[in-house]
């Protein structure tokens, strides 16, 4: 649609219909609802899917089905797949820059954001086979047992992505979640949704199994309750949002003792927001005992 508005071109450009991403497929919302996204001049640049609670439930089914298989892949493979996401994003760098600009991000900032997003993927790709070594332990118990603690993925993580950073904020939350073997359902930034859907296309061509990342667009006010209350969600990550949302999310999360991770007021441009503790946030510690004897 955006391209269709451009004047002075011989050829009529093919405009993209922005969809959502569930279980490795690109449907429109089952609700058939949309919200218009406008550029700074007030031109409609996309009719974005206004996802429903049913879309979320469908995404949860896909995420749960994909999780165990994804967690069962080797750390080396997960690292390579994350690295491939970076490769695919690099190849489509110009597209992402122009899409950010279309949504009102200044040129320099858009370029920086895409570059940082690519580099962040490489950063977390590298952690795939290392965070376990940093955070695990062999525990010197007093009895004749061999005892060790390792990290395992929490399971399915519901992510309310940062509102202020359409691509980098999104990537900075998805990468540490999936590198640790979780699957996720993500609600993209309401005002900057286009990069999320294009990022789904990148994921789709990066050997990320369908269902590991599911991306919805829509209204946070409508969906955050569902993200927090769904009984098959193991952890909810919510970025930004006011105190009221925070309280509502935390209250609903308690129904099945979800892990609640609040990431607020972070400047995702800054290197200080990339560290392996973001991976650890959605991990469980498992301790195993075995007797020592003959």
């Amino acid at each position: 649609m955006a391209a269709a508005k451009q004047k002075g071109k011989q050829r009529l450009a093919v405009a993209k219909t922005y969809k959502i991403y569930i279980g490795g497929k690109f449907p429109r919302t089952e609700s058939a609802r949309y919200y218009p996204l406008e550029d700074q001049q007030g031109n409609v640049i996309a009719n974005v899917c206004r996802s429903s609670r049913k879309d979320f439930r469908n995404a949860m089914v896909a995420a749960r089905a994909a999780q165990a298989g994804w967690a069962g892949t080797s750390a080396y493979l997960r690292g390579q797949i994350l690295y491939r996401i970076a490769e695919m994003l690099e190849g489509r760098r110009e597209q992402f820059v122009s899409e950010l600009r279309l949504q009102g991000v200044p040129a320099r900032a858009a370029e920086k954001e895409v570059d940082l997003a690519i580099d962040r993927l490489v950063y977390f790709a590298g952690w795939a086979d290392k965070y376990q070594q940093v955070f695990s332990s062999v525990n010197p118990v007093s009895s004749a047992h061999f005892n060790f603690s390792v990290l395992e993925p929490t399971g399915v993580v519901a992510i309310l992505a940062p509102e202020s950073s359409g691509l980098l904020g999104l990537v900075s939350n998805i990468a540490p979640t999936i590198v640790g073997g979780n699957s996720c359902v993500v609600l993209a930034a309401e005002s900057l949704p286009l990069s999320a859907i294009s990022f789904a296309e990148v994921l789709h061509s990066s050997d990320v199994p369908g269902g590991v990342v599911n991306l919805l667009t829509g209204f946070r006010s409508e969906l955050s309750g569902q993200f927090a209350s769904h009984m098959d969600v193991n952890a909810v990550v919510y970025c930004d949002g006011g105190k009221k949302t925070a309280q509502a999310v935390q209250e609903a999360a308690a129904d099945n003792i979800k892990r609640v991770i609040r990431r607020t007021g972070l400047n995702w441009d800054d290197d200080s927001t990339q560290h392996p503790y973001l991976v650890r946030d959605t991990q469980e510690v498992k301790t195993t005992w075995h007797p020592i004897g003959v």
Partner: protein, 489 residues
Amino acid sequence: MATPENKLAFDDGWQYSPAPESTDHVRIKKKYDLFIGGDFVKPEKGRYFDTINPATEEVISRVALAADADVDKAVKAARKAYPGWSRMKAAERGKYIYRIARILQERSREFAAIESLDGGKPIRESRDVDVPLAAAHFFYYAGWADKLEYAFPGRNVKPLGVAGQIIPWNFPLLMAAWKIAPALACGNTVVIKPAETTPLTAMKLAEVIADAGLPPGVVNIITGAGETGAAIVNHPGVDKIAFTGSTSVGRIIQKALAGTRKHYTLELGGKAANIIFADAAIDQAVEGIVNGIFFNQGHVCCAGSRLFVQESVADRVIQKLKDRMETLIVGDPLDKNTDIGAINSQEQLATIRSYLKVGQDEGGEMFQSSCRIPKKGYWCRPTIFTGVSQSNRVVQEEIFGPVLAIQTFRTYNEAISKANNTPYGLSGGIWTDKGSKIFKMTQSVRAGVVWANTFNKFDPTSPFGGYKESGVGREGGLHGLDAYLKLEA
């Protein structure tokens, strides 16, 4: 003598003589006040409640009932002590905690006896498990106090402030140690509430803390029931809540903390699967089943309360288990021969009995050992249910008593899908002689602690805590420090 009921009695008619632990060295006051700001102070409203011996139903002592005003006083005392304690040279902080460990070791037999008197657990367990582990926990975390910067690479660590801690009645002193030791090592101050049915060892611990010379207000110990706990949770001067107890109360706490800046860790209920494969060492596995479900009368959040036996050995395992159950001695907690002590409270006994009825009403077949039980006090014979399925309440719900639900399985996949079919995820057990199967199983069970060819083992260095609805966070080991620190860039 071997009888139809007791096939394992090879002693030709010998009886165990009573072997009660001496209690003449035990000092219990008639009345306990609240330990706030380093002093024993009377509750504002002057109310006290009885704590009874569940084996005799006799009142042992009276304990202060802390109301909101007392909680407020305790939090203020902890707040006041916080700057000094958190800024104290870390090595010195550690030395105070070492002192607590040492005094507990010195007075261990007294603590063991009181734990058994107040809570009903067999002296063999309080003497060999609860008290030594509590001391070990203080000793372990004492050493962390001046080494915290090595625990979390790339982060700067800071204490949280005042920790409000609420602990259950199943391991009263040990849970106090699990909570207090890491909190203090990390530089926090503490307001802790023991369970209303087992307050005595916590109040004795207050004496130890006073004897150790800790600065006033660093540890405050207040007694009361649920309302007192709620007042701690909701007090604005508390920075962190650490709770061990039921999932239903944990849920209430998590909701209550929504929208606040308080940190929290929750160690909640469980319904652990104990899985016996045909190639397991069967006699050892039977011992593991017994230890898994009858340890501490089954009042254990990580109890192996769901047994899964591979079909080909099920009859043999269940018969051996029944034979072994007949040898278990239920009775006086202070007797050194006792295997299973008293149920902690009348209320808990009623809960267990209601499940025995539910289990039978739903079609399960119940077997109890034929042992004699004392007339007075709260007792439950060791119990198993067979002929139950995944949908039975005795399979799904935490009973917190000596009640085991037994099911069978054929394949590895069936065992895992049944084992993981629960909202809980605290612990699990695997019994097999095959190494590769051990690793496959321990990786597949969705639980925070997995025992392979053993069960119900604990150690201060070993992180403990649940997946899913069994809780948030870990206690014990390096990972347990995380619960009491802010990690900053």
